[in-house]
């Protein structure tokens, strides 16, 4: 009996490894369900589309890409479980997650296993641990904070600014960085408030803010709260201009705020439809053809660029060794042409460059570029 079991195990393991050798496993760790499902599904769809395209061209150095998806629900606890799961399943690289909180919770597991991780998480803390496995495909909060502070204080000359965030790694980090940057420039932050994500009822906080008579509100949080916050701000008759940070750049923001969305501003890198390069246009056209809708936001595309960069690095180094790929990416002589602009990484894993846009929401729900950096 023992012998049979041994034979069975040997055969099983042999086929298992043989199977693993045939494919390049790419993990997706994203919020497929929960409040940020819209973005998580955008990441999954994008990765599947790119994998399909790469596989149709013969794969990565002859290996077909196999996509493994794990739903982190936007919570740190599920993210940590996902990380273990994807590592155990043999992923060489993981795309995601959408939120900094989830990317952070999974980071260490990927680092220990030598699995490359590329996330659009913008919290500065993500690159502060010095993990060589982590590649940020977006631009860090500190860059956005500098831009926002400069815009609010120097360009718009607001004198009474309120900064609001929730408690997530991303939002709190962005709000703190923005507050510090505004103060450094001599601006006046009259209130720094926090809301609980998903709690829906923000009127108590806004009522207090109203009594302080602000002229600008900067909300560093997610669209699912941002849209409701904006609607409740208008309902309370607070005349201040509303600025949403990058994570408010989602069609659901406008739907949630309804007619109150008009006149609100959103700060982000340029949106998918405005991306000028041929590579962006063709990928977005393919995406629309396959899924019948636009990518929900720029974030999914940023993640796709991260994945493209890693595949590019593997092909350039002619190896599936993740360390070699990471070294290559940290020392690229010239950037790779990406969907969201040129991609190159600094030694600490941050993406280089980045320009921001202030978009004003029009009465019909579309954006008007108010200010381009």
């Amino acid at each position: 009996m023992k012998k049979y079991l041994a034979t069975f195990l040997a055969v099983f393991l042999a086929t298992g490894t043989a199977f693993a050798a045939d494919t390049l496993k790419v993990g997706v760790q994203a919020p497929i369900t929960g409040s940020y499902a819209n973005e998580g599904q955008g990441i999954e769809n994008g990765v599947r589309l790119l994998a399909e395209q790469v596989n149709a061209d013969g794969g990565v150095m002859g290996k077909q890409i196999e996509v493994l998806v794990c739903d982190d629900q936007g919570t740190a606890m599920a993210a940590a479980i996902c990380a273990k799961d994807l590592v155990n399943k043999g992923a060489k690289m993981v795309i995601g997650s959408y939120t900094s909180t989830c990317a952070e919770a999974a980071q260490k597991t990927y680092f220990k296993a030598g699995v490359l991780q590329t996330s659009d998480g913008t919290a500065d803390s993500l690159t502060e641990n010095g993990y060589w496995t982590f590649l940020r495909n977006s631009f860090p909060n500190s860059a956005e904070a500098e831009f926002v502070a400069k815009y609010l204080v120097d360009v718009k000359k607001y004198e009474r600014i309120v900064v609001i965030s929730d408690f997530s790694t991303y939002a709190d980090g962005l709000a703190n960085a923005t507050e510090a940057a505004i103060k450094k420039m001599g601006g006046n932050v009259i209130s720094r408030d926090k809301i609980k994500a998903d709690s829906q009822n923000f009127t108590p906080v806004l009522t207090n803010i109203k009594s302080k008579n602000p002229d600008a509100i900067f909300f560093a949080g997610y669209y699912s709260d941002g849209g409701q916050l904006r609607a409740q701000q208008v309902a309370l008759g607070i005349k201040a201009d509303f600025y949403g940070g990058d994570a408010n750049d989602n069609p659901d923001f406008v739907k949630l705020a309804g007619s109150s969305a008009t006149g609100a501003f959103i700060v982000n890198v340029p949106e998918p439809a405005a991306l000028p390069t041929p590579i962006a246009k063709s990928f977005i056209a393919d995406y629309q053809k396959k899924y019948g809708e636009m990518p929900p936001s720029i974030w999914g595309l940023m993640n796709i660029d991260g994945m493209r960069a890693i595949i590019h690095a593997m092909e350039q180094t002619k190896s599936f060794d993740t360390k070699k790929a990471a070294d290559y990416l940290h020392n690229m002589s010239e950037p790779l042409e990406g969907i969201t602009g040129p991609i190159a990484f600094a030694k600490d894993g941050n993406r280089k460059g980045g320009a921001y846009v202030v978009k004003k929401i029009q009465a019909d729900g579309t954006y008007f570029n108010e200010y381009v950096q």
């Binding site: 998903d198 108590p204 009522t207 699912s224 309902a235 739907k255 309804g258």
Partner: protein, 298 residues
């Protein structure tokens, strides 16, 4: 002063939503001595049903007639779901130990929550702007049309329910069943019908509450029932569970308490203080505010 009055208006709005949902808990408890944990999820489900009725049945019409029709159709649909829930999850366990019924209620809650997720998906769904965005400014205190509608309609429904229970023959049957089911049966009251009626009323009121949540906040998610269910449950205990005016009072007080804590202490701590309040009530006055003075429990 403006800030205080504004917080008061906010508190009353969310308080009336809590109260509507709390009535469902308290009526079922009054007659069956059962905490219907599925009630919060029924409320969430009604928001989704209302949205579907708007898009599929009403053809996205936004007239007053259409809005009224959405409320009526949703209430009817949820009343039917309520009867099915009682038949499937609670009636077979009526003679079983109380714990079995509570576990069944928790199970029903999970079934409904996951059912919403399977039917409507895990994404946040967004309610249309059915009530025009009209605001009135009373010297710094801004009140919106939707707030007025929520407050007035809730009060009308609560007064109507109170009169129904206190003044009609069927109301007397409900009260009798809540005092002693066996004696009520001996008096010729069909207790099964009374319980079905309780579920119809509770579910329809919950449906109105769910639609208010959708209309007021606009964003609805499949798992929001848990949050509103919990608040309404606390409201029911605060007012004295099993007591109809108690649930109304409890809901309003909880809404005000929440608004003032969030406004004057910290929005972060609003939930924590709410639970501290619950613990205090259970220690100091386990029967709730109106629990003892009103002898009859319905």
């Amino acid at each position: 002063m403006d800030t205080f009055l504004q917080q008061l208006a906010n508190g009353l709005t969310i308080g009336s939503m809590f109260a509507l949902v709390a009535l469902g808990y308290t009526m079922v408890y009054g007659v069956m001595r059962l905490i219907n944990f599925a009630h919060g999820d029924m409320v969430a489900a009604s928001a989704f049903v209302g949205l579907t009725i708007y898009t599929q049945v009403m053809g996205q019409a936004t007239s007053l007639v259409a809005v009224v029709a959405i409320f009526l159709l949703t209430a009817v649909a949820m009343a039917i779901v309520g009867i099915i829930l009682e038949r499937v999850a609670y009636r077979p366990l009526r003679e079983a130990p109380r714990l079995s019924a509570v576990v069944s209620a928790l199970g029903a809650s999970l079934v409904i929550q996951n059912g919403i997720m399977l039917i409507w998906g895990p994404r946040m769904r967004i309610f249309p702007e059915l009530v025009p965005q009209v605001y009135w400014d009373f010297g710094g205190v801004v009140i919106s049309m939707i707030q007025v509608i929520i407050l007035v309609l809730s009060l009308v429904l609560m007064v109507a329910l109170y009169l129904f229970v206190e003044k009609t023959r069927i109301g007397a049957a409900i009260r009798a069943s809540s005092i002693d089911q066996d004696a009520a049966r001996l008096m010729g009251i069909n207790v099964n019908s009374v319980i079905a009626l309780i579920f119809i009323i509770g579910s329809s009121l919950g449906a109105v509450g769910g639609l208010f949540i959708g209309l007021y906040y606009r964003g609805i998610t499949f798992n929001m029932g848990w949050q509103y269910g919990l608040y309404a449950f606390i409201a029911a205990i605060l007012g004295g569970i099993g007591n109809i005016p108690g649930a109304m009072l409890g809901g309003m007080l909880l809404g005000l308490f929440n608004a003032f804590i969030a406004g004057y202490v910290s929005s972060t701590w609003a939930d924590a203080f709410t639970f501290i309040l619950l613990i205090l009530i259970l220690i100091v006055r386990p029967t709730g505010i109106l629990g003892e003075r009103v002898a009859e429990k319905v």
